[in-house]
């Protein structure tokens, strides 16, 4: 049975051209699998290429979508009222090449731990014949003044 998930724009505060998530493939308490694409008008482009570390932004957007689905499952604060912020990242392994242009990317974020609005994930972003990035991140979904001091 195919599950109907909300549109991405109902889950995350990002919008084009920054928004790179395209669709959710599956979601469970353990994490989220989705599709993403870096388009030609991406603000993350440097010259003609998109550096591989931009996969971290894709993973952070997937983490924000996962947190929004988690909140919806508990009938908590609507995600559209909140913003998602990367708090830290580590052990992010990058391939030698750039992130492929306009190619379907497979994204998986796996929940490691959560405490209130803060959650830690392992992640993988892959696509094309050889591109693969993996690592760990923590992200917080909240109003910005509650995440960082001004």
């Amino acid at each position: 049975m195919t599950h109907a998930y909300p549109p991405i724009v109902d889950l995350v505060p990002h919008r084009p051209p920054c928004l790179m998530l395209e669709s959710i493939e599956s979601w469970a308490e353990t994490g989220l699998v989705c599709r993403a694409r870096c388009r030609h008008d991406s603000p993350f482009r440097l010259g003609s290429q998109v550096p591989a570390y931009v996969a971290l932004e894709i993973a952070a957007q997937a983490a924000a979508a996962d947190q929004a689905l988690r909140l919806r499952a508990r009938n908590r604060t609507p995600a559209e009222a909140l913003q998602g912020f990367l708090v830290n990242a580590w052990e992010v392994v990058l391939p030698p090449g750039a992130l492929p242009n306009d190619v379907n990317l497979n994204v998986r974020v796996t929940l490691d731990a959560t405490a209130g609005p803060l959650a830690s994930y392992g992640f993988e972003v892959s696509g094309g014949p050889t591109f693969a990035v993996s690592g760990r991140l923590s992200a917080m979904t909240a109003a910005p003044d509650r995440v960082f001091p001004s």
Binding site: P16, P43, V54, L56, V93, P144, F148
Partner: protein
């Protein structure tokens, strides 16, 4: 002041060696869609800026192969002035960087090459 052209979306305030003082321009394309109601520069946008500055200073620098550590403490909004400092550590094959604004540290990180 001897400065190369800066990455679009940023304005140079000052530069001393590998310490740059910059301003995030109002309407910066680097914040487009992040987020429409309250634009901020993403952490990856900050890494991208460091990458660009590093390549201006060291055109032959090796490509990064890992992000070892990234810590975000504040947000940068359009109009904000901030300092960027980075250093290459050949013995450890890594680049360390820090971004600071008047209120304190924004982001700190270490990339391996």
């Amino acid at each position: 002041m001897d400065c190369p052209p800066i990455l679009d979306g940023f304005e140079i305030v000052d530069r001393v060696g590998e310490h740059w003082n910059l301003r995030l321009a109002h309407g910066s394309p680097r914040c487009a869609g992040h987020f429409p109601q309250d634009p901020v520069l993403s952490a990856v946008g900050q890494i991208q800026l460091v990458d660009w500055l590093r390549r201006q200073a060291h055109p032959e620098a090796a490509t990064w192969v890992a992000l070892e550590d990234l810590r975000c403490r504040r947000v940068l909004r359009p109009g904000a002035e901030f300092g960027v400092h980075f250093a290459e550590h050949p013995a450890k094959r890594c680049t360390s960087f820090a971004i600071e604004c008047a209120q304190g540290e924004v982001t700190r990180g270490r990339m391996r090459w």
